[in-house]
Amino acid sequence: MSEPSLSPAQTPSTLRIVLRSRSLILGLVLTLTFVAAALISFVWVPYDIATLDIANKIKGPSGAHWLGTDHYGRDIASMIMQGARTSIAVAVLAVGIGMLIGVPLGLWAAARRGSLLDEVIMRTNDLVFAFPSLLIAVMITSAFGPSATNAIIAIGIFNIPVFARLTRSSALSLWQRDYILAARVAGKGAARISWEHILPNITNMMIVQGTIQFSLGILAEAGLSYVGLGAQPPTPSWGRMLADSQTFISFAPHMALFPGLAILLTVLGLNLMGDGLRDLFDPKLRRGRT
């Protein structure tokens, strides 16, 4: 029952927004760095990692190799740049699968709320959601063979219920709005209302959720690659770099440190960005600011 909690204080909330936008900026910088590294790797990497240089294996960071070399003498900086490509590609496609299937399912369920169809869609989603996602991803990739494609599909499938549930719950509250009623009175069908009125209003939320899922996708890809079920060699992958470096860690810690840092910073950046975006888009905070 202290005083500040009773009155909505102006100063702390502004401060909070500033702090949060700082995290947004930091998140953006980190994320864009890795996206840039991935994009640059298409045209240029310090060393060609397809050719092994056994004579120069397990060298620490130096002028020639900024982040050192691995157990085949490959340049770790080049590996991380190309590994970023793998991580980002898997995560983008997996989130894409989740969105493209999950969002329409959620919209459909919300439009037909309370019907048998709604139940079938949502309970199926619950079923998928109930399984630990990484465990099922391991099952899928070991059943259909380890590859980047199967990793994408496995991670993608587990993004579907996330988006479907979020879409449905947001859409349900929107369906109660007066402008939706107006649209219905004007004779628009459920599909058209979902497309023209509901979807634009949940886009922000989907972007925020997409960012979060993107970071989870990168972690999942690293995890699958770590146990050998992700992208297969010679395609570089951060997770496999970590797994490969395990037995070297006592005398060549750089082999594990740099791919580990790459995963950490990317996931941190994406999470900061997601938080920042959420605060930016949050209607309550928007109201607070004006």
Binding site: A50, I54, K57, Y72
Partner: protein, 539 residues
């Protein structure tokens, strides 16, 4: 000799192998686990009382009292066996635990690969070479107290060669016409044709002597005649053996031995460093060996195995049914680079399917020397479209996974594009080794002694069908003259090398890491075994 004595316990069982299935399904597992606590408690009490005794002794003897000699040993191995019956399952991990420790055969392999007397103290060969008379040791007993007699030998050999036998190496017994008991200490084996290598065959882990009284429970409670008695098996963790006080021969020098299964190389490294295991047989991470070598607490034993590590090519289907393409692969391979990169320098290059330490070995590495330009020319001559896309299937051991990545990079340099697929053992067996042989390239080490004969089997996963080689191999079993045999073996090696049947990479080394105070471990691996009968601690 159809077995790949690969490094996996579950690797080499077949569907029709009840020993394997039963070993996993039944057994005193619950009994074992409930005993664990109790045993630990007992161990603890024993340790405490031993320590107490030692200090009392030290007091009575004064300053001269030496520290009590350590009498137990924990040995780390990478793979846990699926069951403990070496006579009805192919898994090499079984032999690693029980060979010579628990079970013994008529003959046994020495640490150098020589064939020495075992349960047969001597044997006579009839002039026509068809009859072997084995004179058995007297006073030997099985661990359950029953006597070891000639009837047990007859039972074991007849069981192994029976039609419904699930023995993984039935070829070892194929030449036996009959086994006859002369008296309790003498048994004669009659062969269908003379076979100078019969004592060698009887030394294999698959030919150990078992007793009819204990055969039903052998998979989980092995009863043999060895210097150690089976004590307990905590599945997923360890097998414990204790000294057999009634052993007929030189008794074991340890009171107990525990074999702990640690499959992860990183965990293996940590376990040795922390002293959780006193020794580790066939240490899986060669990159860590220099650290052990630099540490005075440890000794590193580098020996050789019978493991010819090869890049197997599927001779049965395009593109590797074309000898020119196989030759191109052979010249694209840079052996020193593979040995350096995958094995950290440990390993001897081979040019054919034969162990370099064998006196009959011929060095044929120059037939497949590293020459990428020649490879490209050969691929052009073969008329295949480049880049040539092939599938490379790699089983779990690091020599295969790492070697595979290096070989793949070398092949890419000449225009062959291998698509790597890393698979588990069971999958490797299903798709590559057995059944459809759906593979183009794979890397594997064949660790059986004298197993060049596998190339004579057209059904084997190499899919290599050369009548000349097959005739040579079948003639070899009939020839007893040593010089002639040697010539034939050399000829066989040359045929394989000139046909470029497989890419011959290197002889797999045997790397053992052990506490510096341990003596008596095998340096080489003439067969898959961790013979602990001579192991002891020194000060």
């Amino acid at each position: 000799m159809l077995r790949v004595r690969s490094l996996d316990a579950r690797a080499v069982s077949t569907d029709d192998d009840p020993g394997f299935a039963g070993g996993l399904a039944k057994g005193p597992r619950t009994g074992n686990s409930s005993n664990v606590g109790k045993n630990r408690e007992n161990d603890m009490i024993a340790k405490i009382s031993a320590a107490g005794l030692a200090s009392v002794l030290a007091l009575t003897l004064g300053a001269g009292g030496a520290q009590a000699q350590k009498m137990d040993l924990t040995l780390g191995l990478q793979l846990e066996p699926p069951n403990l019956d070496p006579t009805s399952s192919a898994a090499g991990a079984i032999d690693q635990v029980v060979y010579s420790n628990i079970f013994e055969g008529l003959t046994r392999f020495g640490p150098d690969g020589s064939v020495n007397p075992g349960l047969a103290k001597s044997w006579d060969i009839s002039d026509d070479g068809l009859t072997y008379t084995f004179h058995l040791v007297e006073g030997a007993k099985f661990h359950d107290g029953t006597d070891f007699e000639a009837t047990d030998v007859k039972f074991s050999l007849d069981r192994a060669r029976a039609d419904d036998s699930t023995n993984a190496q039935k070829a070892l017994f194929a030449g036996i016409a009959s086994v006859d008991v002369v008296d309790p200490a003498t048994v004669t084996v009659t062969l269908t044709s003379p076979d100078g290598s019969f004592p060698f065959k009887m030394a294999w882990g698959d030919a150990v002597i078992v007793a009819p009284e204990s055969i039903d429970t052998i998979a989980n409670d092995p009863i043999g005649t060895g210097a150690f008695k089976f004590s307990k098996w905590v599945q997923g963790d360890s097998v414990t053996m204790v000294k057999n006080p009634d052993y007929w021969g030189t008794p074991a020098q340890l009171d107990s031995a525990t074999i702990k299964f640690i499959s992860d190389p990183t965990a293996a490294f940590a376990a040795v460093m922390a002293g959780d295991v006193d020794a580790f047989g066939a240490f899986p991470a060669p990159e860590n060996l220099p650290q052990f070598e630099a540490d005075p607490r440890f000794q590193v034993l580098i020996g050789s195995t019978e493991g010819e590590t090869i890049l197997a090519m599927n001779n049965g289907r395009p593109p590797f049914d074309n000898k020119l393409v196989r030759e191109a692969v052979a010249h694209a391979i840079n052996r020193p680079e593979i040995i350096d990169g995958a094995m950290f320098g440990y390993g001897t290059p081979i040019g054919t399917f034969f162990a370099p330490h064998n006196p009959d070995y011929v060095d044929l590495t120059n037939l497949s020397d590293y020459d990428p330009e020649k490879s490209k020319a050969l691929l052009e001559e073969a008329g295949v479209a480049l880049p040539l896309k092939v599938k490379m299937t790699l089983p779990p051991p690091s020599y295969a996974r790492r070697g595979g990545e290096i070989v793949a990079a070398e092949l890419r340099a000449v225009g062959i594009e291998p698509e790597i697929e890393n698979v588990e053992w069971s999958q490797w067996l299903e798709t590559t080794f057995k059944g459809a042989h759906d593979y183009d390239l794979t890397i594997i080490s064949h660790t059986e002694p004298m197993d060049i004969g596998i190339y004579a089997n057209p059904e084997y996963y190499f899919q290599y069908d050369n009548p000349e080689f097959q005739n040579l191999m079948s003639d070899l079993t009939r020839v007893t003259d040593e010089a002639e045999r040697s010539d034939m073996l050399k000829q066989a090696q040359t045929i394989l090398a000139e046909d470029y049947v497989s890419g011959f990479l290197f002889q797999l080394p045997m790397q053992t890491v052990a506490n510096a105070k341990i003596e008596g471990l095998w340096v080489n691996a003439p067969t898959q075994a961790a013979d602990l009968t001579a192991v002891h601690w020194v000060d």
